[in-house]
């Protein structure tokens, strides 16, 4: 079945990359290795900037952006102006040339105030920019990378009406015509499509070859035949635009191919691995932001003469949620550090995304309960976090897909041991 072949493709990653056990760390003489959650001076300064920006610019607009399903201009301009877009883009292309972990920090911190803004920044940093700077020709890099840091939003077009989890059953075609390819098809559920200046489109150039025909094309929004459909009216992350994108006889030159012809499936899998860590970061930020908005209420509100948090039943629930958020954060941070250390992180990334999205759903649900009646109203921020959390178990690989991936990797791990 295609599920089996999809998952065998995913587990292949394990056999080729080096595992954590094979690559020991180098310790500094006389110094204990630091804990995962101890950040460097630079990372603290960056987090502080994001915190201030979120608080000053985004926070006052969160509710209205959610209601209108739009981003305020100041927010979009602000994330670009502060260098949050294209975080890893090299200085050579006018980028900050910072680290993947920095991107994780930015995504997490933004989600504490607005998970919609967080995913806007996440897609650009974990899917769009990396594909271009890892696979792009010099010409493509010169065209897109500087603009990715300045004002162009990119969107990742993989899913379709007939293919979500079964991603490689996609039907969009790219028919060769001389030196060009003509793209026909429709993509669905495309995050950032409303704001996108360009798209990374996965289309099949040779359907007879199955997934081996899938090729990634760079398509500009103003290309003839490209149309962005009506925004979805969503339960959560409403300010983030999620739209259908249609390609009607869109003609692109072969130089629009990103990377190699027929290797699109490989690129999609590999970058979605990092994308998972990004979503993990969004989920832990979301959970933390909701928790931060709830605990002070429990300390202030009194019933039967005691603070709500002093009731053991309540306190125990708070402990559990606090612990789960901490555990989820460790999974996300460690997966990010593993990636930076050049270690294979496929299993850890899947675990991080799976767990943090589950924790976010539970934590936000509890927070609404703890706040009682007011938690159920829009006057308080928790109901929005509750709605926003749900997408975590769905996009960038459903929870079932993550479970499947992890199982295959564990199976392979133990097979190799025997």
């Amino acid at each position: 079945s295609s599920l089996r072949s999809s998952s065998s493709l995913l587990s292949r990653g394990l056999l080729t990359a080096s595992s954590a056990a094979a690559k020991p760390r180098h310790d500094v003489e006389g110094r204990a290795p630091p804990p995962l959650n101890q950040l460097s001076e630079h990372e603290l300064a960056l987090r502080d900037t994001v915190k201030r920006f979120s608080h000053d610019v985004i926070k006052p607009l969160v509710r209205s952006m959610d209601e209108s399903s739009t981003f305020h201009d100041s927010v979009v301009k602000g994330v670009f102006a502060n260098g949050f877009m294209g975080i890893e883009v090299p200085e050579k292309y006018q980028g900050p040339e910072s680290s993947f972990f920095d991107a994780v920090l930015v995504i997490e911190e933004l989600a504490k105030i607005d998970p919609s803004v967080s995913v806007f920044v996440d897609v650009q940093n974990t899917l769009v920019a990396p594909l271009i700077f890892q696979l792009g020709t010099e010409e493509q890099k010169q065209k897109y990378l500087p603009r990715i840091c300045q004002d162009w939003v990119g969107a990742f077009c993989l899913s379709e009406a007939g293919s979500g989890s079964d991603a490689f059953a996609l039907k969009t075609t790219a028919k060769k015509d001389g030196d060009d390819f003509v793209i026909n098809g429709g993509k669905l559920w495309i995050t950032n499509a409303g704001h996108a200046s360009f798209f990374l489109v996965f289309a099949n150039a040779e359907p007879e070859k199955g997934y081996r025909g899938i090729t990634c094309f760079l398509v500009d929004r103003n290309a003839e035949g490209v149309s962005v459909g009506k925004k979805e009216d969503k339960l959560g992350i409403r300010a983030s635009s999620t739209c259908p994108v249609n390609f009607d006889g869109v003609r692109v030159h072969k130089s629009a191919i990103l990377g190699e012809y027929g290797k699109g499936y490989k690129y999609a899998i590999e970058c979605l691995n990092s994308g998972r860590i990004g979503i993990g970061a969004q989920m832990i930020g979301l959970a933390q932001g909701c928790f931060d908005a709830s605990v002070p209420y429990l300390q202030e509100r009194k019933q039967f003469g005691s603070r709500l948090i002093d009731f053991q039943g309540m306190a125990f629930q708070v402990s559990e949620v606090g612990m789960e958020i901490e555990a989820a954060r460790m999974l996300v941070y460690n997966a990010a550090r593993m990636k930076e250390a050049g270690l294979s992180f496929v299993k850890e990334a899947a675990m991080a995304k799976l767990y943090s999205s589950i924790v976010a759903s539970k934590a936000t649900s509890k927070c609404v309960e703890w706040l009682g009646g007011v938690g159920f109203t829009k006057e308080f921020p928790v109901e929005k976090f509750y709605r926003d959390a749900k997408i975590g178990t769905i996009y960038e690989g459903t929870s079932n897909i993550q479970l499947n991936t992890i199982a295959k990797l564990i199976d392979a791990e133990y097979k190799n041991k025997a």
Partner: protein, 256 residues
């Protein structure tokens, strides 16, 4: 023509923190508490950087005096547009005894060795609300001072400064070199963007010890006690003005 500005920045307890008094009443709790750059100093720095962008200033140097953690605010200053940073280090143990007079003395030493055309500072620090360093320095250097600035315009070898005073706005012209202190409405400070945080790592941060500079750090004042303000008592309602007057007389606030 060269115009070099020295900007004083102080590391203080963050404005959003709920400050609590230490049990021994010798001060407020600073251990483990969020710190950041004094907000008025951020405004002073922003003004200097804006003038540099307008080409009226050629170099902005950030200055901070205190324990090792001062470097955090100096790095932030570099990320916000300062070209260089100077840290006058004193041992952590002496940091709580540091007074505006000592800071002014240190700034004078720096100005005497590297020529500066202006010193920008925040009007006061939000921890001690002293509002002294700028004036002390101006006195020591025999420089004019333009305090509580809400607008600054370069004017040849002078600065035209609009100041917020009790009666309204006062516009003065000071010949350089001069001391300027920033008030709230002077500008809105920029964020330290990620590209600038990255660039700041490569900018020079010079460290000098107060001892080596021969600065006298003997305290002039002694903190006797720090305590919380008295809990505000609830007021009372009266029915009319005669009742109010009777109450005020009864409580001894007006002569019977």
């Amino acid at each position: 023509a060269e115009m070099r500005v020295l900007v004083g920045v102080k590391r203080v307890v963050d404005y959003a923190v709920k400050v609590r008094v230490k049990p021994d009443k010798t001060g407020v709790i600073t251990e483990g508490v969020q710190h950041s750059m004094n907000p008025f100093d951020e405004i002073a720095l922003e003004e200097a950087v804006k003038l540099k962008e307008k080409k009226a200033v050629t170099e902005v140097v950030a200055f901070s005096m205190g324990g090792p953690k001062c470097q955090e605010v100096l790095r932030t200053a570099l990320a916000k547009g300062a070209d260089k940073a100077i840290h006058i280090e004193i041992p952590d143990a002496d940091a709580s005894q540091l007074e505006p007079l000592h800071v002014a003395r240190a700034m004078r030493k720096i100005i005497e060795s590297d020529k500066f055309d202006a010193v920008f500072l925040g009007k006061q620090a939000i921890d001690d609300d002293a509002n002294q360093t700028g004036s002390l320095l101006a006195g020591m250097m025999d420089w004019p001072q333009a305090l509580y600035a809400s607008k600054v315009e370069p004017d040849g070898k002078s600065l035209k400064v609009t100041r917020e005073i009790d009666g309204g706005l006062d516009t003065i012209k000071v010949t350089l070199p001069a001391v300027l202190s920033a008030d709230l409405r002077l500008n809105e400070p920029r964020y330290a963007t990620l590209p600038n945080i990255m660039k700041a790592k490569k900018k020079p941060l010079e460290k000098k010890s107060a001892k080596d500079l021969g600065i006298d750090l003997a305290p002039q004042t002694k903190m006797v006690e720090v305590s919380e303000p008295p809990v505000r008592q609830a007021g009372g309602f009266v029915d009319d003005v005669p009742a109010l007057i009777a109450k005020l007389k009864e409580k001894g606030f007006i002569k019977a």
